[in-house]
Subunit: 315 residues, 2 copies
């Protein structure tokens, strides 16, 4: 299977969502091959081992396996210690199981951390040494790279940008705080806020959708791209909240780059420009001027690419 003429690749696997996404990645972060499957939460080990065997048939050796998980990884032992979304990966010893099944070195990383590292090596973070990554989806997560290394925090919890207070008199968050960024700007909360405003304003094309079926944050982005004023307003206001959080990150950390990912960023400049404007108003100017605020580039590959590159670094 391997020979001196075969290029070395790393396999990254993203098991943080409903779909398992595997990417065979070169030493510099390019994706050479992909596999996708519906995630089977109680058979993750077998599923990953199967993907490894499939991709070993491609003309590349695999040097190491990196896995992005929705949970916390103990940096000492490298084991997954908490995962509310995928409890099966905490039970047993998935790492030992996979090492035995594949013969490869195996590393785990939190999904947001892995995605940040993917963007850093091969996406919107290239050329920077310090970045903060924010992903906006069902929840809002973040991760931090300082001097080229993930900063995981004293106990692995750094980057919780979704739970910083944006509106001190806002609504209750699942975390127990009120007015977290997530209560305003996560995809379900963008939809909630849009529904609430539609009760007062029926001129939008979303109004028709809202009266007849559930719509998503992606629908709002789509209507905004079609020029709907109301959808544009919702993105503008959402961007302001995200921009307030971005300003806080800039002021505290003076990173070179903020990389914003997640489905809501599909709206492109309609969300990015309001974020940049508000961050500019709310951050210390010398910090702001030293920061580039950009959209992520790796889309659904980010976690797998980052996990693969972290596996590369560990070998």
């Amino acid at each position: 299977m391997t020979s001196t003429a075969t290029p070395v690749h790393y396999l990254g696997v993203d098991i943080s969502g409903a779909t398992l996404r595997a990417a065979l990645v070169t030493t510099t972060g390019e994706v050479a091959a992909r596999r996708e499957a519906a995630l089977e939460p109680n058979a993750v080990g077998a599923q990953v081992a199967h993907v490894v065997s499939e991709l070993r048939d491609t003309p590349a050796s695999i040097a190491a396996l990196g896995i992005g998980v929705p949970g916390l990884v103990n940096p000492e032992t490298g084991r997954v210690v908490v995962s509310t979304d995928l409890p099966a990966v905490v039970r047993g010893d998935l790492r030992a199981e996979l090492q035995q099944a594949t013969g490869l070195p195996v590393t785990f990383e939190n999904d947001a951390n892995a995605a940040a590292y993917g963007e850093y090596v091969a996406g919107a973070g290239r050329g920077s040494r310090n970045l903060f990554y924010i992903t906006i989806g069902t929840g809002i997560g973040g991760a931090l790279i300082l001097d080229g290394r993930l900063w995981r925090g004293a106990s692995g919890f750094a980057g919780e940008v979704g739970h910083i207070t944006i509106d001190p008199e806002g609504i209750l968050c699942t975390c127990g705080n009120v007015g977290c960024l997530e209560t305003v700007a996560s995809a379900p909360n963008i939809v909630r806020r849009t529904h609430e405003r539609l009760l007062r304003d029926s001129t939008s094309s979303l109004s028709r959708l809202g009266m007849t079926k559930d719509f998503t944050a992606a629908d709002i982005a789509h209507e905004a791209n079609n020029g709907d004023d109301f959808a544009l307003l919702m993105l503008e206001r959402t961007g302001r909240s995200i921009g307030t959080a971005v300003a806080t990150v800039i002021n505290l950390l003076n990173v070179e780059r903020i990389v914003l990912g997640g489905t809501i960023m599909d709206a492109g400049d309609l969300i990015l420009q309001p974020i940049i404007r508000e961050a500019g108003k709310r951050s210390f100017q010398p910090c702001f001027e030293a920061t580039q605020i950009v959209a992520a580039q790796l889309a659904a590959d980010a976690v797998a690419v980052g996990a693969a590159m972290l596996a590369r670094d560990a070998t």
Copy 2:
């Protein structure tokens, strides 16, 4: 002056306020001798050189000189590049002047960074590897130590906790943003808020002060210590704003320790406990539980001790 039997000391000088404060510091951060003088903004070099010559007469050799400045230090050149409060230190080449006058290696550091490092080595930060330092005085500054090293940011501006947004609909800050922590919780703003509330409430002992003379944040702390309900309320409310900012730091960075300094901390638990309570409500619980929130210990020595220890590290 020096001999093999003479212990090695480092001289730290704080030129960040109206008083020049010099401390002769042991290799482990204890203060062996102090000097104070009214700062002469246009003769800083001569003043510092004079302090060096004075303290060289004590029975200790001085191995290096560290200076804490109210401004930005270029990490490449080690020179002070911006100082709105003390512009004289930017003109000419103070470092070369002092090296020539004293024969010592000279290092500069931003005052908040130096104070944080002082607390880290010899104060409330001892035993931690990761801390965020907040100083609350005329302004609010901050600094960050990660894995035992100052994190200065990509261009030297990290730690601007005074300018993170606490109240998105708050009042205008000198920085151009509205609702910065500084607009609520700096010493002059605590006084401003107290005056404003006194116009509506005359039962406090501060009311008498407020009607007859200007009072300070220290007076408010003093009255609170004497049990005045109104002064206690003002500290409680101020603590909540600071606690909101502390929660943000905890969520983003997952540091082990938050160290709070500045004159308002003289109120002790009357301000510290509200800060801790609000931080607990507003931060992600696993991060909060991993963080100690404590008062600074070095008081007016912090900048000089930190500057001395940074000079130690540089030699």
